[in-house]
């Protein structure tokens, strides 16, 4: 196999490593032969992440990015030594968890050394008294959650990617799970961390519940996307498994009715663990056998926790839904969601039909939520070749929401599928910003959104760039992401 025979998507500005063999010898010395590879079979395995366009590329036999070396360190000291070498030789370093990111964050666009964290997978300690677990960050999310469940706890972060993602990935891309309205997002769940900085310094943030000890420096590593450091260990909040769970669903006449019902539920300080609004198109797609939901907006709830509190949550949820013209659809739609939420088949089917598809999540205030939804969907419908644009809302706060758009379409004329893909992404980002929203809720920036960081952040982006320069002076940590723009596609 000759990797050079494969078309490479990100083929510009690759780092040229002159003394490749010498670096290989040094890396092997640091981590041992069995934890190092420069062989094609391993390099090829790290050419992609889970970006949906990547599945089209996989089918076409195209690769996204090409690393030079793969490493699987087992100790933090080994990571430190790799980083010292990478800094000295100015070689990019790409931290890698489970490769489930969907914005290109783990793609080795400039070549370099992949640091795969999978061997950092130990659960160090559970404290029942403090309700915490301390764990290495290479652990797969589902394996962490299964372990906790077996011991009578949950971490509460259950993203759709839980089977395929790592704790390190959750921290790096600032994840949010399906049960986040009750249990919080990863930044609410993390109490403490150990981080290795790009120059090799190891720092710790104490797992104490709150500290008034100056600015919260730890927060810059949550969502750093492998550009500022590698989180090796984290202490997370955990919860005893809920004593009771109830399933509730309502169909609303409009998207706005559903949003209003939920806004009022949250105003009463009621936090169902799961809340999901499906717009009319997604309702037709996911709940086609529900007659009551025809031409309506399906909304599902899962209330869980203390039995008496759950009863109260359910009661208030029902009252508010009915106040906003919701029709009770019973437990079945929620059971259907539980049964199907991990049965992901679309990534396998759409590329075969040469459809370009993706999901794009964004955040909004309540004030702008409905406006933003209509603005994005209407704007995208103007793009030639776009076949569907739908949305659901799956993350809620008393002060706003996280919304999820799904699109699919085909490139037309001379356009490539990648150009079409970029156009839809960029058009969405522009419409979101113009509607007062934020460009990402929980997948992060990666490659796909970096073009919009200046507009999202305004002047404060300069400060972030300065921080990056201080922490990673040689710009070796995951280059091409967050701080740089690799996409040239415009927006409608």
């Amino acid at each position: 196999m000759d990797l050079n025979e494969y078309k490479l998507i990100y083929d510009k500005d690759r780092t040229i490593i002159q003394n490749k063999q010498e670096i290989e010898t040094k890396l092997k010395r640091i981590i041992g032969e069995s934890n190092f590879s420069a062989s094609e079979i391993d390099i090829f395995a790290y050419t992609k992440d889970a970006s949906l366009i990547g599945y089209n590329w996989t089918l076409e036999g195209t690769i996204a990015g090409l690393a030079d070396y793969i490493t699987w360190p087992e100790t933090k000291e080994q990571i430190v030594e790799i980083l010292k070498l990478a800094n000295k030789e100015k070689i990019p370093v790409i931290p890698f968890g489970e490769g489930s990111g969907v914005v290109g964050g783990a793609i080795p666009v400039r070549g370099g050394i992949i640091i795969d964290m999978k061997k950092f997978n130990k659960i160090i300690e559970i404290s029942d008294k403090d309700l915490t677990v301390t764990v290495e960050t290479g652990i797969n999310g589902m394996n962490l959650e299964r372990y906790l469940n077996a011991k009578g706890y949950t971490c509460g972060n259950i993203p759709q990617s839980i089977y395929t993602s790592s704790l390190g990935g959750w921290i790096a891309h600032k994840a949010a799970g399906q049960f986040s309205t009750k249990y919080g997002k990863i930044e609410d769940i993390i109490l403490g961390m150990e981080v290795i900085l790009p120059l090799g310094e190891i720092i710790n943030f104490k797992p104490i519940v709150r500290k008034a000890t100056g600015p919260q420096l730890d927060k810059i590593f949550i969502g750093n996307e492998g550009t500022l450091g590698i989180v090796t260990t984290a202490t997370l909040r955990i919860w005893p498994l809920p004593a009771k769970r109830t399933l509730v669903s309502y169909a609303f006449p409009t998207f706005e009715n559903s949003l209003e019902a939920i806004r009022h539920i949250l105003r009463e300080q009621i936090y169902p663990a799961v809340v999901r609004i499906y717009d009319k198109d997604e309702t037709a797609r996911h709940f086609r056998d529900m007659e009551k939901a025809t031409e309506k907006v399906m909304t599902i709830f899962v209330c869980e926790g203390n039995e008496r509190l759950v009863d109260l949550e359910e009661q208030i949820t029902r009252e508010q839904c009915e106040k906003f013209s919701g029709i009770d659809c019973g437990e079945h739609p929620v059971e259907h969601w539980f049964e199907t939420r991990f049965r992901v088949t679309e990534t396998s089917s759409t590329p075969q039909y040469k459809l370009t598809a993706d999901t794009i999540e964004i955040a909004s205030s309540w004030e702008n939520a409905a406006k933003l939804y209509h603005r994005v969907t209407e704007t995208l419908k103007q793009i030639k070749g776009l076949l569907l644009i739908t949305a659901h809302v799956s993350h809620f706060y008393p002060n706003g929401i996280g919304m999820y758009f799904t699109f699919a379409g085909v490139e037309m004329g001379e356009e490539t599928n990648f150009e079409f893909y970029q156009k839809v992404w960029n058009t969405t980002m522009k419409a979101v910003l113009e509607s007062g929203g934020s460009i990402a809720h929980h997948h992060g920036i990666g490659i796909n959104r970096s073009n919009w960081m200046e507009k999202e952040w305004g002047k404060s982006f300069k400060i972030l760039k300065e921080i990056k320069k201080i922490i990673d002076p040689n710009n070796i940590f995951n280059p091409g992401k967050v701080f740089e723009n690799l996409w040239k596609g415009g927006a409608n």
Partner: protein, 422 residues
């Protein structure tokens, strides 16, 4: 088709709403799937499902034993399917020596099928890899480590360098040749011959039950299970016919085996190559469970303290292939004062011992790593006895346990405990 149309009704409605250029393009794309993404040459590869698996976000990765053992992306299920797909499409040429690692990857699977539990398409990755192995065999590219197994089967009728069944005398196993009037044929797995104490325990139990049975070790051949993994169906048929003939000779209406691999092979796998033994075939622990439930088998003795606190390693072939997670537990629970501590990954969610499928031939270190992982999970229960019911598991776990731990933790077959309690 009707189901497909119903499922994608919403999508067809979306296509119909599109303008005619877009509609034309989409229908063109839909009609070209085979042409654009399937091999032009005829092959045995299950290309449609290889694509489904290669383009999946790896929804089973957390439970893939080889990936969890190696902790390298290279071992992930979707990547294996991706490579299989590229081999079938000619993007990776399996005849080139430099591509041997890609060919070997098609064999680095333990057949544990935990992937099937989570698969959105409800297949197991090994079922896809086997179709690639079929194509490789057709091209004369069977790896040497598979050829070596076949060679042993051809020469010794077993998966060992010598006919392991004929070692019964030196192991003090009582052989019983059939007189043609048996109630039960005790079909000893060739790998179980490495655990004579288990075979002896089973013979002792069957004798105590006053069941007329035979073991026929002078005439025995391997069930042929390995040939199905290697995908050599000629050898499989040859061994299948030998076993059918011997089974018929016993006159038994029931075959019990101490190896779940043998049970799977004598039933479903033989059926797939047109051989039917026409008798009931079950695992011996299932047989003992039934006899306990019928009151015909009564464990009465409390076992020594060091054997009374056990954890269970469900053989994945019993738990997931034969769909039986109750037999081992029923037998154990009927032994007086037996305490069972379940590991986290148990019953249908059991993790593999590493010693099934072709992985332990293709990459022994990988299989040992998987065995070590499983031993660590079982150790976490704090139990000093690991109970299983499969010679491959008992072999694999034996590789996974350190010499130091061997002093403290015993790996035992369920039959050994049962025999002691009668």
């Amino acid at each position: 088709m009707q189901e497909f149309m119903e499922k994608y009704k919403w999508f067809i409605a979306e296509i119909n709403k599109a303008d005619k250029d877009v509609k034309r393009k989409i229908f063109r794309n839909l009609s070209r799937v085979k042409k654009d993404f399937h091999p032009t040459e005829e092959c045995k590869a299950d290309v449609s499902n290889l694509i489904n698996c290669a383009l999946c976000p790896n929804m089973c990765r957390f439970d893939c034993g080889t990936l969890q053992a190696e902790q390298k992306e290279t071992m992930s299920p979707s990547y294996k399917a991706r490579i299989g797909y590229y081999i079938s499409m000619g993007k990776i040429d399996p005849t080139k020596a430099e591509n041997k690692p890609f060919v070997d990857l098609m064999y680095k699977c333990t057949n544990e099928e935990s992937c099937k539990v989570w698969c959105p398409f409800e297949f197991s990755v090994v079922s896809l890899l086997e179709t690639i192995r079929d194509d490789l065999n057709d091209k004369g590219l069977m790896p040497d480590y598979c050829k070596q197994q076949l060679d042993k089967l051809h020469k010794t009728n077993t998966i060992e360098n010598h006919n392991i069944y004929l070692t019964y005398k030196e192991k003090n196993i009582k052989n019983i040749e059939t007189d043609g009037n048996d109630e039960v044929y005790y079909f000893i797995g060739c790998e179980m011959m490495k655990f004579p104490e288990v075979v002896k325990a089973n013979i002792e139990i069957l004798k105590k039950l006053k069941i007329k049975f035979s073991t026929n070790l002078e005439q025995r051949a391997c069930c042929g299970g390995p040939t199905f993994n290697i995908r050599d169906f000629e050898t499989a048929k040859d061994l299948g016919q030998k076993n059918k003939k011997l089974a018929e000779k016993t006159g038994a209406k029931l075959i019990v085996s101490d190896c779940p691999g043998c049970v799977l092979t004598l039933t479903k796998r033989y059926e797939s190559i047109g051989i039917n033994l026409n008798v009931k075939i079950i695992h011996i622990v299932d047989f003992f469970k039934q006899l306990i439930n019928e009151g015909k088998l009564k464990p009465i003795k409390k076992l020594a303290e060091e054997l009374s606190n056990v954890t269970i390693h469900d053989p994945c072939l019993i738990a997931r292939n034969l769909n039986d997670t109750t037999s081992i537990r029923t037998v154990l629970k009927n032994i007086p004062e037996m305490k069972i501590i379940e590991p986290i990954y148990t019953k249908e969610n059991v993790h593999c011992c590493g010693w099934s499928g072709t992985a332990h031939w293709a990459d022994k270190d990988l299989a040992i790593k998987e065995a070590i992982n499983r031993i660590n999970e079982l150790k976490e229960t704090g139990s000093k006895v690991i109970i299983s019911a499969c010679p491959l598991c008992e072999l694999g776990l034996g590789y996974g346990i350190t010499n130091e731990d061997k002093e403290k933790i015993k790996i035992r077959d369920i039959s050994e405990l049962l025999a002691k309690s009668l």
